[in-house]
Amino acid sequence: MSTRLSSGGRLVNRAKQVSFTFNGKRMTGYEGDTLGSALLANDQMMVGRSFKYHRPRGIVASGVEEPNALVNLGQGARMEPNQRVTTTELFDGLTATSQNHWPSLEFDIGAVNTYLWRFLPAGFYYKMFMYPRAFWKHVYEPFIRQSAGLGKAPDAETLDADLYEHFHAYVDVLVIGGGVAGLQAALSAGRAGARVMLIEQTAHWGGRAPVDGGTIDGMAPGAWVEQAVAELSGMENVKMRPRTMGAGVYDHGYVLGYERVNDHKPGAKGVRHRLWRIRAQRIVSAGGAIERPLSFAGNDLPGVMLASAVRDYIVDYGVSPGDRVVVVTNNDDAYRTALAVKAAGLQVPVILDARPNGGGALAEAAKKAGIRVENGKGIAKVKGGKRVTGVAICLQAGEGSVIEEIACDAVAMSGGWSPVVHLWSHCGGKLLWDAERAMFRPDGAKPPTDQDGEGFVVCAGNANGAMTLDAVMADATLQGAGAAAELGFKGAAAGAKGEAEAEAPMAAVWMMPQGANIKLRMKSWLDYQNDVKVSDVQLAAREGYESVEHAKRYTTLGMATDQGKLSNINGLAILSYALNQPIPQTGTTTFRPPYTPISMGAIGGAARAEVFQPIRRTSLYDWHEAQNAYWEPVGQWRRPYCYPKAGESHHDAVTREINQTRNSLGLLDASTLGKLIVKGPDAGKFLDLMYTNMMSNLAVGKCRYGLMCNENGFLSDDGVVARMDEDTWLCHTTTGGADRIHAHMEEWLQTEWWDLKVYVANVTEQWAQFAVVGPNGRKVLEKLGGMDVSKETLPFMQWAEGTLGGVKARAFRISFSGELSYEIAVPASEGRAFWDMLLKAGEEFGATPYGTEALHVLRAEKGFIMIGDETDGTVIPQDLGLDWAISKKKTDYIGKRGQERIHMVRPDRWKLVGLETLDGSVIPDGAYAVDEGKNSNGQRNTQGRVTSTYYSPTLGRGIALGIVRDGPKRMGEVIEFPKTDGTSVKARIVDPVFYDKEGAKQNV
């Protein structure tokens, strides 16, 4: 039985009871409990089923390293799987359910897997993949999907009820870990005057020092912690933040901190989690150490716990894991647990010390307290089914013959401690193998280095391999002051002095007993969460997995959500022994952020709902919306696709908009079109290099269509260039191209042609721009009045500045539709007002706003190409019949060289043509034209594809543009486009200009 003790528990407030449910069962705990301590207080020893074999599993640890006790926490919009009970602060109304069992935790059908172990060995998945594919798909996969796995993903349609945010912080010294080492390091750096931030993943300062005893500056550790926290709180240059974990260390001193602001009070105002994006000059990693399990048979039964966890539950929460606790260890530290158990009035039937000569001062204290101590002994096997009932004792030196059986309720095990080197290692800090203490610790001579080649992370205390309280305090003082001093903050070097009992050397114990037979090894768990045993790692070694990284993936050791916090060192030691090589030669797997899983919500931050992504709006956005516009996203812009009237389909709306534009007057919001000002004495020269055609010889007041390519010669953007004055050009880009082309120009100016005197400015949003299109376009502008827009004064491909209807305006005579067309630019602040004037003046002509789909059809009818339709990054202008826009005179332009390569000048390239279906139907977008024969993959050969395809209301039939092998020389030929429904459509190759080839309609 685990239960609440009648007294004790330094972190719980016995005056305040809290109720919660586990698997629907109502339970109570105290304020200050974790869900883990509260479950144990309610005798809920078993909390889940294992990943592969569905074995009963209980709470093993008391902190972030907990591998077993993962639950589904909360319900509905707050349901979250895989939450560790040991890091979940208890709150009133908490609901949790256990995972990975069916139909119930107590009776789980999947537990039959444990008897099928022969068929689930290491590398199971890989081996099964070798069998016939069909067998995998129909037999193995459904079985594994049903039986393996942890928590269930939240319902995809349920929105998270909580909010999240990011916060940027800049500090000199960031101390990660608020134990006594972190507190001392922060004090040392803070006293020296550095800007310090101290973060701690739990809600409490001081770490486990108050549980472990000893003295600091002559005080009990708890008293010293209080004093240190008070001093730090009073320092202006020090910021402290509990419930904030150092999740990852990245280059340039960038650290992600994960603050669980409201997890302990769900529904409170504000955010649930806050992701801290911290830039630190120096980082002190003081994350402590994690105790290792021992590998003996049955070490995964509920009731087998880490020794440190047992005393945490007793001292911190006043919770007993059982009346009789057997302690098994290879070091002195576990004796503290025995003494704590005893002090709580409970029994320690025996301490099994694997060391032949036993322990030091702490062992003496245990013996003095009347506890039986057996040196050189270990556990052969833990007895029990769903919880521990006893242990069978054996000689550590032997093979596991049972000497004696002892009844007990819990086993406290300690295999030694591993410094938390994760944050040190994230950016490449190297590790040393400390054989004497059997642990990897940071190699201070090889830290992760910053932009100046300087180490930017130091470790302090346990995390640095300083394992006793005296060493911890000395190291923390040194590292904290050192980090500040490297930044020029010098202060007094004195720090607090720690004192603790001297400890006898530990002994490395990787298997218990050392000669355990295969039956025992197959029940000795390394990785609880992923169900990996000693025998699995040994099998991997026999099968040739020599690299620790390969063995990890083959056995799945350390691949679960705990990333092997308990299992990694034990696993690689087993691997090393199996390979008969020293542990450092095997090395560790890679430590990657985050230290423990962080929420997706925190990563996303505020970016959800209306601020998920910026939506760019033109000055007419509200008007479009009021007209019931059907939106099309174009980059981050929203543009009206069409304006359906009540009861009108999109297709009908597009048809109406096109007809009205061709016949009378259409209006388009073209504000999103990119507008770049290029100015300077060398602007003409620069533009001749940027565009394929000449821009330097464009006369002031005139416009020219231009093409831009990338270095490989592929068409990248197009648009009309207008010359403003002697040294100023206005370059229009596509909607999506404005920022990209601006950056492209700046890059060339800043990195290659820095000697050219040219400045570029992006003025896209300064102007609202409207296309006034159709036979009545001129009349409506004349009605507004203010400037001469006649054919004589403002002919096709010219522009002029003046006023229209009293608004300052630029009028460009350009056409993307083949009609008489003006593009009018007015200041964006007056865009809406000008649009209203256009609508009013155009009323008598049936002025019709049209959207992007009508725009596309209008241009396709004229055979005008569209960037992104006719181009896809593999198309050169020559493919699109745009040779006329490529200067033959110029010595160079971006892309010229690329276009001369052999493949680009091949005569059989796919080139632009028009496609007219024989039956008048519309070819599906992206359809391929098939050719005779098959390729080497057995696929049908192709000879072209559709790039744009529409129903043309003007022509009353389907039209398409496409690129076809040697197409322009094959006019009149019929080619075939298979459809996805198995039928195909035949189309005749025709001229790409379907409508008004002479340009009579636009040139009026």
Binding site: G270, P614, E765, Q766, S829, E830, A833, M837
Partner: protein, 189 residues
């Protein structure tokens, strides 16, 4: 002459801090050679201020000049004066390679006001800037979460922020969310 309107027509919100769209503000992008005596002289004569240093903003009455890059300034004047100031600058810089262009309508301006620490904390949520070391006289051209922006503090407890006009609604909504009740951080206070 029709009435010119700003992107959000003066939208306001009162959360942890007050947020307000400031209406139309004249803005000019001015690029040139900062080392040139003629350039410095032109700025001084037209705008009445010395060239601001790196990441600094210089204010003279209704006019202000902010450093945007090693060859770019942001000039702020009353909205209706922008075209005239562009002309004046172009005149004064006739013999200098430069670019002066009116970008007033390409922008939206917001003002945050309230407790100074809170105002700066709201910004620290959306911009990668050391707000503990930020104050009046400085400007940062940076990003505001997912969009470009710049901001400066006319005085303690007040912060002006400029972004592109098309994303004004996004920035307004983002500032509102970032300043929602209960989201005080307590890091800069």
């Amino acid at each position: 002459m029709s009435k010119a309107v700003s992107a959000l027509a003066g939208a306001k919100a009162s959360v942890l801090v007050a947020i307000e769209e400031r209406g139309l503000q004249g803005m000019i992008t001015l690029r040139g050679d900062f080392a040139s005596a003629a350039f410095k002289k032109a700025v001084k004569s037209v705008l009445g201020v010395d060239l601001p240093g790196q990441r600094a903003v210089a204010v003279a009455g209704e006019k202000a000049v902010a450093w945007m890059s090693p060859d770019e300034l942001l000039v702020m004047v009353p909205h209706e004066e922008a075209d005239a100031v562009v002309e004046a600058l172009s005149g004064a810089l006739k013999s200098e390679h430069h670019l002066a262009v009116n970008v007033s309508d390409a922008r939206a301006v917001f003002r945050l006001s309230g407790k100074d620490a809170l105002v700066r904390e709201v910004i620290a949520k959306v911009a990668p800037v050391d707000m503990a070391g930020f104050g009046p006289g400085q400007i940062r051209r940076t990003r505001i979460s997912q969009v470009a922006g710049a901001f400066w503090q006319p005085e303690a407890g007040v912060l002006d922020l400029v972004c592109f006009r098309s994303v004004a609604q996004y920035v307004f909504d983002l500032l509102k969310v970032s300043a929602m009740e209960g989201s005080e951080v307590g890091h800069l206070g």
